[in-house]
C-alpha cells in the first residue's frame, strides 16, 4: 500500500506554512580522477518550513555536509548531482544557471561554516568581510553597508570597536558569532549551519547555540543544522533527519524520533548517548565501520552492522515506511489536536510496519 504524504496538509498554525525548502530524491555522486564513482547521496528527501530547525545527524562520511553543499550547489569539482529536485520557495535550484544560483546564495540561503577561523580570510578585517557579502549583492551602498555591519555585529554581541580587527585577533567564540553576523548580512530566509559548535568549548558552544536559537526565533529563519552531536539536536531542533551511508535512515519530528526511534541505527545511536538519570549504565556501541561509498552493500546499508537484521536485509534495500500512523494511536493520543505535527515520522527499515512513503 502506498500513501501520498503532503507535508503541509494538516492545519496546525505552526506547521501550516508551505515548506521553504523541499528536497526531493536528491542523489549526488563523486567521480574520482580514475573514473570511479562513489554514491555519496541517494534519494534524500526532506522539507524545511519557515521557522523550523531541522537537524541533520549521522556519523562522519554519511553525507551530511554533502547534502548541504549539494543544496547550495557548492560541491567540489568531482561532485555531481545526478538526480532530484531542490525546491526553494517552489523554484528548482538545480534547474537554475550558475549566475541565477549566485543570486540565491547568501541572499536567500546563507551558511555558518564549521570552522570560522578557516572560513574567514586572514588578510581582511572582520568588517570588510561582512561588508563584502552585503556589497556583492548590491542592495546598498558602502556607507549604508558599513552601518549594517555595525548593526549586525551589535546583534551578535561584538563591540563595534573591534570591527576593524583581523580574524586572528578574535577568540573562537567571537569568530563564530562574526560568522553568524555575516550569515545574516543579506537577510536570508534559510540558514545552513555546518557543525557550528564543533571547534568550541562547551561554554562557548552553549552561547553560540543560544544565539542561533534566538536569532532564528526573531527572524523566523528556517535552519538546517548539520551536526553529530545528538544533544545539540535535542536542544534546538524541531525535526531531525538521521542519515546513514548517504541515505535517510529515519526522519521525523524530534520528539517522535528521540522517544520512539524506529530504525535500529537510530536506536543504537540514542542508546550510545549517556542518560543522566541512569548513571553507570553501559552505553551501546555499534561495531564496525560505515560502508565505503564505492562498495555499498546490496541490501540495507546498515545491514552489516545491524543487531536486528533479518534475512531480507542483505539483499533488498528497504523503502521509506511511514511509521507515524502506527504510533499516533499510542504515543500521540495524549496530545491535543493542534499539537499534532503534520510531519510524518518515516524510517527506512524492513522491520517497520506501515504504508510505504512516496513524495
Amino acid at each position: 500500500m502506498t500513501v501520498d504524504v503532503h507535508w503541509s496538509v494538516t492545519d496546525t498554525p505552526k506547521n501550516h506554512a508551505a515548506p521553504l525548502l523541499s528536497v526531493r530524491h536528491l542523489s549526488t555522486d563523486f567521480v574520482s580522477a580514475e573514473g570511479k564513482v562513489a554514491h555519496a547521496l541517494e534519494d534524500v528527501s526532506f522539507d524545511v518550513r519557515p521557522g523550523e530547525t531541522l537537524g541533520l545527524v549521522g556519523e562522519s562520511g554519511c553525507g551530511k555536509t554533502t547534502t548541504m553543499m549539494s543544496l547550495m550547489r557548492l560541491l567540489p569539482a568531482a561532485g555531481r548531482i545526478t538526480s532530484g529536485q531542490v525546491l526553494f520557495d517552489g523554484k528548482d535550484l538545480l534547474a537554475l544557471s550558475e549566475n541565477q544560483m549566485r543570486g540565491y546564495r547568501w541572499k536567500e540561503m546563507a551558511m555558518v561554516f564549521q570552522s570560522a577561523m578557516n572560513a574567514l580570510n586572514p588578510v581582511y578585517t572582520v568588517a570588510e568581510q561582512i561588508r563584502e557579502a552585503i556589497l556583492l549583492h548590491g542592495v546598498m551602498d558602502r556607507s549604508a553597508a558599513d552601518k549594517r555591519v555595525e548593526e549586525l555585529l551589535d546583534r551578535v554581541g561584538i563591540a563595534k570597536t573591534r570591527k576593524n580587527q583581523y580574524p586572528h585577533q578574535y577568540s573562537g567564540g567571537m569568530r563564530q558569532r562574526a560568522m553568524i553576523a555575516m550569515a545574516l548580512a543579506c537577510q536570508p530566509r534559510l540558514l545552513f549551519a555546518d557543525e557550528p559548535t564543533t571547534a568550541l568549548d562547551v561554554m562557548v558552544q552553549a552561547q553560540v547555540l543560544e544565539l542561533l536559537k534566538t536569532i532564528q526565533r526573531e527572524l523566523g529563519l528556517a535552519v538546517v543544522l548539520v551536526t553529530h552531536d545528538l544533544g545539540v539536536v535535542a536542544e534546538i531542533c524541531d525535526s531531525v533527519v538521521v542519515m546513514y551511508g548517504g541515505k535517510v535512515a529515519e526522519y521525523g519530528p524530534i520528539d517522535l524520533v528521540y522517544n520512539h526511534p524506529q530504525h535500529p541505527y537510530t536506536q543504537r545511536l540514542l542508546e550510545a548517548f549517556p542518560d543522566l538519570n541512569k548513571p553507570g549504565d553501559v552505553l551501546a556501541s555499534i561495531p564496525g565501520y560505515p560502508p565505503r561509498l564505492n562498495a555499498l552493500p546490496p541490501g540495507c546499508r546498515f545491514e552489516p552492522r545491524c543487531h536486528r537484521k533479518i534475512e531480507i536485509c542483505a539483499s533488498v534495500s528497504p523503502k521509506l515506511i511511514d511509521v507515524s500512523q502506527a504510533q499516533e494511536e499510542g504515543t500521540l493520543r495524549g496530545k491535543k489536536e493542534g499539537e499534532l505535527s503534520s510531519l510524518r515520522h518515516v524510517a527506512a527499515c524492513h522491520l517497520c510496519q506501515g504504508p510505504e512513503v512516496t513524495y
Binding site: N118, N121, M182
Partner: protein
Amino acid sequence: MSERWTLLKRNLLDFWKVFGRNRPGMLGAFLLASSLFLAIFAPWLTPHKPTDTMRDANGKAMTFASPAEHGPLGTDDAGRDVWTGLVYGSRISLMVGFVAGLLSMVIGSLLGILAGYFGGWVDNLLMRATDVLLVIPDIPLTLILVASVRQLNLGVSPLVILILVIGLLYWTSTARLIRSQVLTIKERQFVARARAIGAGHAHIILKHIIPQVMPLIVANTVLIVSTAILVESGLAFLGLGDPTQPSWGTMINFAFDRNAITNGAWWFYLPPGLAIVWVSLGCVLLGNVLEEMLNPRLASHHLEDESHMVARPATESAVKG
C-alpha cells in the same frame, strides 16, 4: 577611508620593524637602492657624457688611461670615461632588467593563477606550454630569438627586442610557483565561503586569491629582475645589446673586443662586472628575505631556532633525570 590608511600604515610599520633588523635583507636593499640611485642621478654624478672622448693637455685622446691617470676609473680604448659609462650603463641594465622582469612576472602570475584556479583543461594547456618552454635551454633560445628578430629589421630598438624576448621567455618558473600556491589557496575554506556568499570567479581571484599570492609575487619579482639583468648582460656581452646605448654587459663586450685584457686595462672590464654582481646580489638577498618574511611557511619553524625559544630544549640527561 581613513581607517584603511591607519591599517595600512600600521602594517607597513610592523613590516619595517621586522625588516630593519634583518641584516641580509637590509644589505640587499642597500645594494639595490644604491644602483637605483646611480641610474636615477646619472647626469649629476659625472661631468662627462658617455660618448665624450677624454683628452690630455695636448688634446691627444687618452686611450686606456689607468685610474691613476684619469678620473676615478680610467678610460677605455676610445678614451671614454669608464665611470661615466658605468653610471649611464646602469640606466640601461636596470631598465631592461626591471621592465623585462616585471613583464615576465605579470605573464607568469597571470598564467599561474588561471591554471591553478580553473584547473582542468586550462591547467593542462598552460602547464604543457610551460613544460615545452622549460625544456628548451634558455640561452640558445634567447640568442636565436633575439638575433632572428633583429634580422627582421622592424625598426625597433634592440633594447625593446631584448626586453620582450626576456620578458616573454622567463615566466615559466614563476607560473609554476604561483600555480602551486593557488592550488592550495583555492582549497581553503574562505574561498568556499566566498563562493557561498555568491561571489563570481573574478571577485574570488581579485579579492581572495591575489592578495594571498601577492607576497610570493613581490618576492619573486625581485628575484626575476636579477635573472633578467644577468640574462641581459650575457646577451649584451655576446654582442646582442644596443651599441649606441651601452649597458654593463655591452661594456664588457667592448672590453673583450678591444683587447682590454691583453692591454692589462682591468679598470675597463672589472667595474661593469662588479656592478652586475652588486645588483644581482642585492636582488637575490632582498628577494630571498622578502620571500621568507612574507611567506612565513618557508622559514624554518620559529620553535627550531633556539634564540626564540621560551624554554631551552631539555637535554637528554635532564629527561632521564
